[in-house]
């Protein structure tokens, strides 16, 4: 595998996916770098298939770790009685209403939907990246779309 070519062709997609998921460019840079670092370290184990799906598998796992780490981080701050964490940058999402609706989805449904819409993965690739059967991907996508449609219906919109 030409790792440099893989970086050149896929870095922007991975970075933008992470930036949109996290709403934070600095954190996205960090996780994108870690994604490619882990991919490089594991390149010997890569099996013929979609390198893009492979990268997003790593990125998806890192996002999960990041979320768990953030929970521990927040808890650690909470344990420091009276100590306020220095203000972290507010997440920035281009469509806040959509972001709020996405946040209400079940994590596995949100993950499948965003890997499809933002990472441009096929159903097969999403199944690989998330470690589930393709039928499960279809059902998760279906439920996610239905819930989002209901959440974002005009009569539910605050505007």
């Amino acid at each position: 595998m030409d790792f440099h070519a893989l970086f050149d062709s896929e870095f922007a997609a991975v970075y933008r996916y992470l930036a949109h998921r996290l709403g934070n460019a600095a954190a996205a840079e960090d996780l994108a770098a870690e994604t490619f670092l882990r991919a490089y370290q594991a390149r010997a184990t890569f099996r013929p298939g979609s390198p893009r799906a492979w990268l997003f598998t790593i990125a998806t796992n890192l996002l999960r770790d990041h979320a768990r780490g953030q929970v521990r981080h927040d808890a650690a701050f909470a344990a420091l009685a009276g100590h306020a964490e220095p203000a972290a940058a507010e997440p920035e999402f281009p469509d806040p209403e959509l972001a709020a609706a996405l946040a209400a989805l079940r994590p596995e449904e949100r993950e499948a939907l965003l890997l499809f819409a933002w990472a441009d993965l096929s159903y097969d690739e999403i199944a690989t990246a998330t470690g589930v059967a393709i039928g499960t991907v279809r059902s998760r996508l279906s439920r996610a779309r239905a819930q989002l449609t209901a959440e974002l219906a005009p009569e539910r919109s605050p505007r």
Binding site: Y15, R16, A19, E29, H66, G82, P86, L98
Partner: protein, 361 residues
Amino acid sequence: MIDDRLRAAHTRIPEPDEATIARVRARLEPPARRRRTRLRVAIPLVGLVAASAAAALALLPARVESPIAPPVAEASRVCAAAGVPRPCLQALSDVAAAQRVLASGRVYYARNDFTISTTYIGADGRPTAAPADAAYVISRTVSEEIWLAPDGSGRLAYGDERAPQPAGPADERAWRAAGAPDLETLVGPPARWGPKVQEFGPGELESALVFNSNLEAVLPKDDPLSVLPDEPRELAEFLQDAAREQRPEGPESNVRNTFGTNVTTFLRYPLTSPALRAALLEVFATVPGARALGTIRDGAGRPAAAIALPPDMNDGKDIVAFDPKTSRLLAEGMSDRSGGVRWHMVYGITTAAVDAVGDRR
């Protein structure tokens, strides 16, 4: 419909810019070299008090170190970019880890400069006690020489206090705009800090340099740095616990400041091991609110990788500058309102490994 809205939102996420791509590339080259645990999330820092003047001294002589080509090139490239500080500090950490362990049996000599007095001049042209009201700042500096022997003994020698000068470029502009009034008249006579020489027996100079901010409460008297872990996560936790122990009565702001000044104390101490210095830089890489300022000139005119710390983390000296070639702490200063720096301490202007206390080469 939903898919269209999702994709439309995603088109508004910008492509990574060239600086971002360059920073990530730098972190990947060579990826196999990273061996220490990186701290992935900001640790809940608490922090601390001002470094004492005595502890503001020593710096390991850069001349006796050997820049290692690959990490140095990476640090120089990564640290040139302003923004997120972590890539620069992690690159500096790699440089630190690649440094040689100091040879024993030599005396380390360094000449430093530090600010001994600061006078704030108000808009009415008279000294004011309120820094926030100052139109410009005048400082006096003094030269300091340090000889540190392997047994922790040594000497500190201070020169005469120099003539007062505007503390930074913005201060000089404001002073000239105010008609360039006589600085000696504005700040009054010197406090007679120097000249003077202080001699230290075995272990005493080491104690003077390390035991600021009540660090003696948490470190052993003999070989005090031996208890500090050099794994970044363990070190961060150790320093956090230590800061709480050092400031059991104070507010959280004191604990946080103590944390930060402990890190800078160990970074400037000449006998800090390469592994510990590497871990300290990793710990600084996790400070919430820190920023990389890119490459700037320090108070001695040297190119330096500058990091802006939160103002409550290093006794007000929010700017720390590192040598990309050795990872050494070159200078500490305070940012001014124009975005410039008032350098407060400048380390290692001259350095050498010498045979005896008093030798300079």
